[in-house]
C-alpha cells in the first residue's frame, strides 16, 4: 500500500483530469462492474427472498403480496409434514453422500498417489463423470436402472441376486440417487485429495520409517492428520453441492415415486413453480439457506481446528 502510493506520486502524471481521477480510484473502478452485477444478480434476489418470506403471494398481477408476518414460518415448522420429511431425506442424502464419497475418494487418491502403468490415462478418464452433462447422464442411469430391461438387474442376475427396483421404487429411490451422486463426485474428492497428498512434506515419513512405523501407522498418524485441511475443503464444497442436488433428482425421479426422493431443494422448486406459492417457498428458502450456512460454518470451524492442530 505504502509503496503503491509513493510510486503513484513519483511517476509522470497522465495529462487528462478524468483519466487521472479514474486512475487514482482504480481500486474502486476496476471491481465496480462485477460488484454491481453481483449485487443485482445475487444480493438482490436473496434480499427479495427474505422480504417475500413474510408475505403470501401466488404471482398474480392483480393481487399484491399480502403481509402475513411469521405465518409462513409457523406453518412450515408446525404443520408441514412434506417439509419435515424432505428435511430428513436431505440430511440422509447429504451425510450419506459426504461419508461415502470422502472415504472412497480418499482411498482412491491413495491408490493413485503411486506410480503405475496407465496412471495418467486413468486419472483423465476419472474426470468424465463430473464434466459430462448431469441431465444427460441421469437419463442413462434411468435406462440402466430400468427394472424389466435395465443392464444392472441383468448383471445382478448373473451373480444370483434378484432384480431391484432402483430409482423406480419407493423404498430404493433415494439410495439409487445416492449411487449416481457418488459415481459422479467421488472422482472430484479423489482429485482434491491427490492435490493435497502431492503437497505433503516428506520429512515426517522419513523419521517414521526410522522409527519402524508400518504403512498403516504412517497413514493413520501422519497422512490423515496432515491431510485434514484438504479433506475439510473437499467436504465443504461437496456438502454445499450435495445439499442442493437438483439435476439428477429432478431428471430421474422428480422427487418420486410419491415423495420418496423429494429433498428440500426439490420441494422448494415444486412449491414455487408448480403450486406458485412464492411467499411460502421464499420462507422455505430462507430456512434452507440458513441450514447451508450453518453447515458451511461448522466445516470451516473444523478446518481451522485441523490447521491449528497441524501448526
Amino acid at each position: 500500500m505504502q509503496a503503491e502510493r509513493s510510486l503513484a506520486s513519483d511517476r509522470k502524471r497522465p495529462s487528462s483530469g478524468l483519466v487521472d481521477f479514474l486512475d487514482r480510484h482504480a481500486r474502486w473502478v476496476l471491481p465496480a462492474p462485477a460488484a454491481i452485477a453481483i449485487v443485482l444478480l445475487c444480493v438482490f434476489p436473496v434480499a427479495y427472498t427474505l422480504y417475500m418470506s413474510f408475505h403470501d403471494w401466488s404471482g398474480s398481477r392483480l393481487l399484491a403480496p399480502q403481509f402475513v408476518g411469521l405465518k409462513n414460518y409457523l406453518d412450515i415448522f408446525l404443520t408441514d409434514d412434506r417439509f419435515h420429511e424432505s428435511l430428513v431425506r436431505t440430511a440422509i442424502f447429504t451425510t450419506g453422500a459426504l461419508a461415502l464419497q470422502l472415504v472412497l475418494g480418499l482411498a482412491l487418491s491413495l491408490l493413485f498417489n503411486r506410480e503405475f502403468f496407465g496412471r495418467g490415462l486413468l486419472r483423465t478418464l476419472y474426470l468424465l463423470p463430473f464434466v459430462a452433462t448431469p441431465a444427460a447422464i441421469a437419463l442413462i442411469w434411468m435406462m440402466m436402472y430400468s427394472p424389466p430391461v435395465g443392464v444392472l438387474n441383468y448383471l445382478l442376475s448373473l451373480i444370483g441376486v434378484s432384480g431391484q427396483e432402483w430409482a423406480y421404487g419407493q423404498s430404493q429411490a433415494l439410495w439409487a440417487l445416492l449411487i449416481v451422486d457418488t459415481w459422479e463426485y467421488t472422482p472430484v474428492i479423489m482429485l482434491i485429495c491427490l492435490a493435497g497428498l502431492a503437497a505433503l512434506p516428506s520429512d515426517p515419513y522419513e523419521s517414521a520409517q526410522i522409527d519402524g512405523a508400518n504403512s498403516w501407522q504412517q497413514f493413520w498418524y501422519i497422512t490423515l492428520p496432515l491431510l485434514r485441511p484438504t479433506i475439510a475443503v473437499a467436504a465443504l464444497f461437496r456438502a454445499i453441492d450435495a445439499i442442493k442436488t437438483f439435476d439428477i433428482i429432478y431428471v430421474m425421479t422428480q422427487g418420486g415415486p410419491g415423495y420418496a426422493s423429494e429433498t428440500l431443494n426439490i420441494y422448494v422448486f415444486f412449491s414455487a413453480f408448480q403450486y406458485l406459492r412464492f411467499g411460502y417457498s421464499s420462507a422455505l428458502l430462507v430456512i434452507f439457506f440458513t441450514i447451508i450456512l450453518a453447515v458451511c460454518l461448522v466445516i470451516i470451524k473444523l478446518r481451522r481446528e485441523a490447521q491449528t492442530a497441524n501448526e
Binding site: D23, P33, Y48, V149, L191, L285
Partner: protein, 289 residues
C-alpha cells in the same frame, strides 16, 4: 534402520516367498484399481453402446453386448429433432455468459489481487452457496414482468452467476503471482492501472484466462435448472431438451443415448484441454489441481 536387518535376513533365507508377496501385492493393487474403474467407465460404455442400438435391441433382455450396430439414432436425433437448434441456443448462452464473465471478472480479480480486497472475493462465495431456486423466484417474477422470459438475455444474465465467480476465483491467484517489478516499471513509465491491467497483466495470464473461459463454458453448457424455468421454446438449451426427449418420446432409449452422447462429447473434449485447472475451478481456487 531396524527394518533393514529384517529385510536382509528374509532375503537370505526365503527369497522366493518375499517375491511372491511382492507380486501378489501388485496383483491385488491392480484388481482393486479395476474394481473401481469398471463402474466409473461402464456408464459411458453403456451410453455409447445403446446409442447404436435400434428400438428392439435397446430394450432386449438380457441386454445385448454384441449386435448389428446402426447409425439411425444419430440420423433421427439430428435430422428429425431440433437438436442442432438447441445446441446453437446452448452455445449462444455459454459464450455470452462466459464473455460477460470475463469482461466483468478479470478487472475485478485483478483489483482483488493488487489492492488486497479479499472481502469482495468472499461476497462472491454467496453466489456459490445460495440454492439456485432462491435466485429463480425473484428472477422469474422480474423477468416475466419485463418480458425477458425465454430470451437469450435472461439466460446469459443468470448464467453469469456461474461464470463470474468462477472467473474471479481462478484468476485471483494468477494475478497475485505476477512479478511486481514489471508492474512497478510500467507505473513509473506513466502507465495507468488500466494500461497495466490491459497491456501487462492480461497478456501474461492468458493460460489462466483460457482455463476460466473453458470452465465457464462447461458449467453454463451443463446447467439445467436456470434454463428449465427461464428458458422456453425459443431458447431451450441442450440439458433441458434431452430431458424433454425422454418425457415426450417415452422410452426410445437408443435416441436418448445418442442425444446424451452428442451433448456430452463437447464438454468432455473441453475438459480434457484444461484438466489441470478443473479441481481449482470446482473448489473456487482453494485447492490448486
Amino acid at each position: 534402520m531396524s527394518e533393514s536387518t529384517g529385510v536382509l535376513l528374509t532375503h537370505r533365507t526365503r527369497p522366493l516367498s518375499r517375491k511372491v508377496r511382492k507380486v501378489s501385492l501388485k496383483v491385488l493393487f491392480y484388481i482393486s484399481l479395476a474394481l473401481i474403474s469398471v463402474p466409473v467407465l461402464f456408464v459411458f460404455y453403456w451410453m455409447v453402446l445403446t446409442s447404436f442400438k435400434d428400438g428392439t435391441q435397446a430394450t432386449a433382455f438380457p441386454p445385448l453386448f454384441l449386435f448389428q450396430a446402426t447409425l439411425k439414432n444419430y440420423q433421427d436425433v439430428i435430422g428429425k429433432t431440433p437438436l442442432l437448434t438447441y445446441v446453437f441456443n446452448s452455445l449462444v448462452v455459454a459464450l455470452g455468459a462466459t464473455g460477460l464473465g470475463l469482461v466483468l471478472g478479470l478487472p475485478a480479480a485483478y483489483s482483488v489481487a493488487k489492492f488486497s480486497q479479499g472481502k469482495l472475493a468472499i461476497v462472491v462465495l454467496i453466489a456459490r452457496m445460495a440454492p439456485g431456486v432462491s435466485y429463480l423466484i425473484p428472477w422469474f417474477i422480474l423477468f416475466s414482468r419485463i418480458g425477458l422470459v425465454d430470451t437469450y438475455a435472461a439466460l446469459i444474465l443468470t448464467h453469469l452467476i456461474l461464470t463470474l465467480p468462477m472467473t474471479m476465483w481462478i484468476m485471483i491467484p494468477f494475478f497475485e503471482d505476477l512479478p511486481h517489478e514489471i508492474e512497478e516499471a510500467a507505473l513509473i513509465d506513466g502507465c495507468t492501472w488500466y494500461g497495466i491491467f490491459w497491456r501487462v497483466a492480461v497478456p501474461l495470464t492468458v493460460p489462466g484466462i483460457v482455463a476460466s473461459a473453458i470452465l465457464s463454458i462447461i458449467f453454463s453448457w451443463n446447467n439445467f435448472a436456470f434454463a428449465l424455468i427461464l428458458g422456453g421454446d425459443r431458447t431451450r438449451t441442450v440439458p433441458v431438451a434431452v430431458f424433454s426427449f425422454m418425457t415426450f418420446e417415452g422410452v426410445n432409449w437408443g435416441g436418448v443415448a445418442a442425444a446424451a452422447t452428442l451433448i456430452c462429447v463437447p464438454v468432455i473434449l473441453l475438459a480434457l484441454v484444461i484438466q489441470r485447472y478443473l479441481v481449482a475451478g470446482l473448489t473456487l481456487g482453494s485447492i490448486k489441481g
